[in-house]
Amino acid sequence: MDGVSIPLDHVLLLASLLFICGLLGLMMRRNVIFILISLEVMLNASAVAFVAAGARWGQADGQVIFMLILAVAAAEVAVGLGLVIQIQRRFKSLDMDDADRLRG
């Protein structure tokens, strides 16, 4: 069955394309919800790379790191969505450019 196995390069290409999508979304969108979604896409892309590498070498380490990435994503989303609610309440909009008080 080794002849038809999925090449590692293509999975890594998928991961990098997903990461680029997330990065472009992060830089182009100004809505807070979409910024969080872009962060999720980027975390997910790095998880794809880890799992693919772990599967390539037949080790479970890739999936262990995947579970740690899941924990990081869950904590990040919980705090980020709390911030989204605060931003909506203070600035009455979800536009990040309204929350630029730190710019001075």
């Binding site: 997903l18 997910n44 799992v51 262990v64 740690l68 605060q86």
Partner: protein, 170 residues
């Protein structure tokens, strides 16, 4: 050969739905596309021999984390625009693309399940091996992850509580 075709289909669906998710105007539509993208990535995980990661991707990512997003979008109520959006949801051009992509994923699922030997393309890593590694050499990382989740819980509680006291109360 079938695994390769399924892999390319799933990755195409993942990429297309991610791009569609990040270019939507409405956040709820974007979430539907994002869930579709996560499901496609779960199929990819299954095909490269990580069924446990695929299950976790569906249960935690597409399930729990996306439910958090949906709750927050519901809390930021749309007000008077909500009714118009509700009418727009009934138009076919809103939901036809996610339905096509989801049907493609369903076809893949049926194809994978109808195979006698499910996708053992390269050495399958069982959940037992993952558990042995997780609580063997990685036990310190598990502790750190639990502390991170605790910090996230406290932070989310703090941010949400002030909202209820000041904004929701008056």
């Amino acid at each position: 050969m079938l695994e390769l075709i399924l892999f390319y289909m799933a990755s195409t669906i993942a990429l297309v739905s991610t791009i569609l998710a990040l270019t939507r105007v409405n956040a709820a539509h974007a979430l539907v596309y994002l869930i579709l993208s996560l499901l496609a990535v779960a199929v990819v995980f299954y095909l490269i021999g990580a069924p446990f990661a695929a299950a976790l991707e569906v249960v935690i990512y597409a399930g729990a984390i996306m439910v958090l997003f949906v709750f927050v979008i519901m809390m930021l109520n749309l007000g008077e625009k909500g009714d118009r959006r509700e009418k727009q949801l009934l138009k076919p051009q809103i939901w036809i693309t996610p339905v096509i992509l989801a049907v493609l994923l369903l076809v893949e699922l049926v194809l994978v399940l109808s195979q006698s030997a499910p996708a053992e393309t390269q050495g399958l890593i069982s959940s037992k091996e993952v558990g042995m590694a997780l609580y063997g050499p990685y036990v310190l990382a598990v502790e750190i992850a639990s502390m991170l989740l605790m910090a996230g819980l406290v932070g989310a509680y703090h941010l949400g509580r002030r909202y209820l006291e000041e904004g929701g109360g008056s």
